[in-house]
Symmetry: C2
Subunit: 473 residues, 2 copies
């Protein structure tokens, strides 16, 4: 069960048949293709090496698997859409991958409660489409919505592009069923809005990356659909101005989104996606704002604020969408960045501080990286309205991959030291997984980490649930 | 240290001087008046009997008190505004009351982050006023805002009248400092919007009623102020119609509040507060809706929905506020109920189900209580948009108090059995404290309660933090 080389012969006939007894013969896989498919997430750092992949069809089957794991000292890795970016769903050490794909029922839609029950394996985009069909809206949205699953969203407390208005996945979980590391089924909060009867264990499980148990079902809240969304892209001279724009707009309007990207990000996306620049005037940074038009008054308000920002020197130019199609193409300037820069196999980091400190924080990070590696291009974008920036260092074409990765290791440490000084988070929305666990102490005290270990023991006394993720026991 | 009779001589000179060394001689009280004042909350069931009352002036002093408590095996009861209704802040068993009144600084207001730092002892109304002075808004509001403190609001996850739009206190806590039962200071989340770096321990502490530690400081979020609030009071033929009205309005508008009260509640409040009925037509139940008027379109929308509800037979009559003053007097019809009925020393219960099930739930509770005690008047009101109803059984004038209380004990059990059958909460927003701990199993499984006990041990290994509240160890 080494972490280096998948040992396909490792599974014993006894365990294989016991797994088959839990979920059915056809639902246990031990072939290399399945291991490659189910054994890792969107990170490509670890070599997948599970013992087996199983696809349970019910909470009861998940409980049976946990009991089997306890009896045979097997580790379990819960597996959703595996779109994670922190190696939280990687099985590289002889674990049994428990893929929740088959738990994909959407039931018990209730228009008064505005809730719907989802199996852990429901894909985010399916829930979004279901909600739209009912005249409702599921607002948590991000690039991987087409593959990510609700169980995984909950386990990573997924965020995305509408957090400023709608919050994280945490805010949309009205009820949660999990199978603990003892094989017990917990039915937490059962869809209630108000429930102050003891500790809210549901909140602990959200964002725990499967280390406390396996999410098997959730009751998700829905919202009314947004009305006539308009998009504004504004060019700003510096990050401080971006903050002034944020404060100005947020003081007067309910924003649906407030994103940002740098001039370099814009240049890349325009060239490689064949898009048009939003306007001719170049700017250091761009802010993308989205808001609802309940009436003409909203657009008038947005335009008045725009003029104020221009007068103050916070905005050098801007454009507002005149149609749904134009709003969509303005969004592409922001949303296509990640895909565009993937050709440079960027070193990515997902970090946050309190919102007001972002400009100085970003300047410090940029200064440290540029001083040490002047040949590296740095692309900034992210959810600036939440204090969450994505740092992307592009690999120069001429630099060998191994050397780039080694240098990025150094970048990581420097960046996290700055994060620590700013009392920020080493993982704003992507979680910790395997990739960031060595850096957890930059955001959490030794005491907090120790308490997390003890809390894990309450849910998972034998340590079989996604071991080695977030922290080592 | 008996729970029955305050034993004012119980404190030893050694412990008294050790407490004085922690917080200063003038900040330790052992007199009967202080015990009466600091030893209990708004419940009047238990006789206050603390060992002493102390008023620390800093987090460091709270830590010193905890270390002292560990050394001398003293129990601590954290104490805020003591407006609780579940005896969560009662000291009836020789505990040291730690009153946080002196931690009342409001600092570090940040208009970009929209956050402000509050000592645990800041009174809710002070924070609301501070926010208003800065052009912002603190939206958690309830009858006891003038006395309740932020630390207590957090420890009980206080709700109130704006939950449908703004959520519970939980949603406004960006950072939290607590002193654990080991005397350690935890600094949780530090004001970040996005922070997926390990378990969110902050969420555990919110609503834990001081059993995990003492909240000493919080970073609270603020919102923009609401615009031109309008209030609508609608009469409905039954609870089912109330739900249709809720669904209709919520599908089209962002409601700020959706409250309800019964005809009997209205009659009492009109007579005893000298208010006018909202309209002549009597109705079984009344819904009070509040919404923002961003433009005339909002009022037009509200009126169109009103007409639709009348056409459908869901609404028999209604009135809309034409001024701020009129909005305020319509609100009094709902907000003055609690004070009005206090002369009948009502048996109160704060319960919830999922929203859509409220009508049948309420009918079942009413049927059980009326069948057994036809002479009791039942007054219903509450936060119906959150599935949260307040049941109030009024004491007949001729019935002796002791007999009424004894009969209400039986009512409790029947009500909680119905709550259990509906998978609801025995405490929607008031917490568990001493008053409801015997009923906790109606809402939480034995396994969950056992896990809560184990989690308490992680924060408070010696069990000195508000022992006996929520559950027994």
């Amino acid at each position: 069960m080494s972490g280096k080389e998948p040992d396909l012969a490792a599974i014993s006939p006894d365990i294989l048949s016991a797994l088959q007894a839990c979920v059915g013969t056809e639902r246990v896989f031990t072939d290399a293709v399945s291991f490659e498919h189910y054994g890792r997430d969107w990170t490509r750092v670890h070599t997948p090496a599970p013992l087996a992949v199983v696809l349970p069809g019910s909470a009861g089957e998940v409980q049976a698997l946990v009991r089997l794991a306890l009896a045979h000292k097997l580790a379990l890795v819960p597996s959703g859409g595996r779109t994670g970016l922190s190696a939280g769903a990687v099985a590289h050490n002889g674990e049994v991958v428990v893929a929740l794909d088959r738990l994909d029922d959407i039931t018990d839609f209730n228009p008064v409660d505005r809730t719907v029950r989802c199996g852990a394996g429901v894909i985010t985009a399916q829930l979004q489409a279901f909600a739209a069909d009912q005249g409702f809206f599921y607002p948590v949205d991000f690039a991987s919505s087409g593959s990510s699953q609700i169980g995984g969203n909950i386990s990573t407390n997924a965020g995305g592009i509408k957090v400023i208005r709608h919050g994280m996945t945490r805010d949309w979980v009205a009820g949660l069923k999990i199978v603990t590391g003892s094989g017990e089924l917990l039915d937490l909060n059962r869809g209630l809005v108000k429930n102050n009867a003891g500790y809210d264990l549901r909140q602990l499980v959200i964002g725990a990356e499967g280390t406390l148990g396996i999410v098997v079902e959730a009751t998700m809240r829905l919202d009314r659909p947004p009305k006539d969304l308009a998009v504004l892209v504004l060019g700003t001279p510096d990050m401080k101005a971006v903050m002034q724009v944020l404060e100005t707009y947020q003081g007067a309007m309910d924003l649906q989104a407030f994103e940002f990207f740098s001039e370099l990000a814009l240049q890349k996306v325009v060239v490689h996606q064949g898009l048009q620049r939003p306007f001719a005037t170049p700017a250091e940074f761009y802010a993308l704002l989205e808001f609802e038009q309940h009436s003409d008054a909203d657009m008038e308000q947005a335009m008045a604020l725009f003029e104020h920002c221009v007068e103050q020197g916070w905005v050098v130019d801007g454009v507002v969408s005149q149609s749904v199609a134009q709003a969509q193409s303005l969004w592409r300037l922001r949303e296509d960045i990640s895909e565009t820069i993937s050709r440079w196999t960027p070193y990515k980091n997902d970090i946050s501080t309190t919102i007001a400190r972002v400009p100085e924080f970003l300047a410090e990070v940029e200064a440290v990286v540029s001083a040490s590696y002047p040949e590296f291009e740095i692309v900034w974008f992210g959810h600036i309205g939440d204090g969450n920036v994505h740092l992307n260092v592009l690999k120069p074409d001429t630099l060998p991959m191994a050397e780039f990765q080694q240098r990025c290791g150094e970048v990581s440490r420097w960046v996290f030291e700055i994060v620590q000084r700013y009392e920020g988070s080493i993982s704003a929305e992507h979680g910790v997984g395997l990739l960031k666990k060595d850096y957890l102490h930059y955001s959490r005290s030794e005491l907090e980490i120790q308490m997390m270990r003890q809390i894990k023991k309450v849910f998972d006394p034998q340590g079989i649930m996604n071991p080695g993720k977030i922290f080592d026991l």
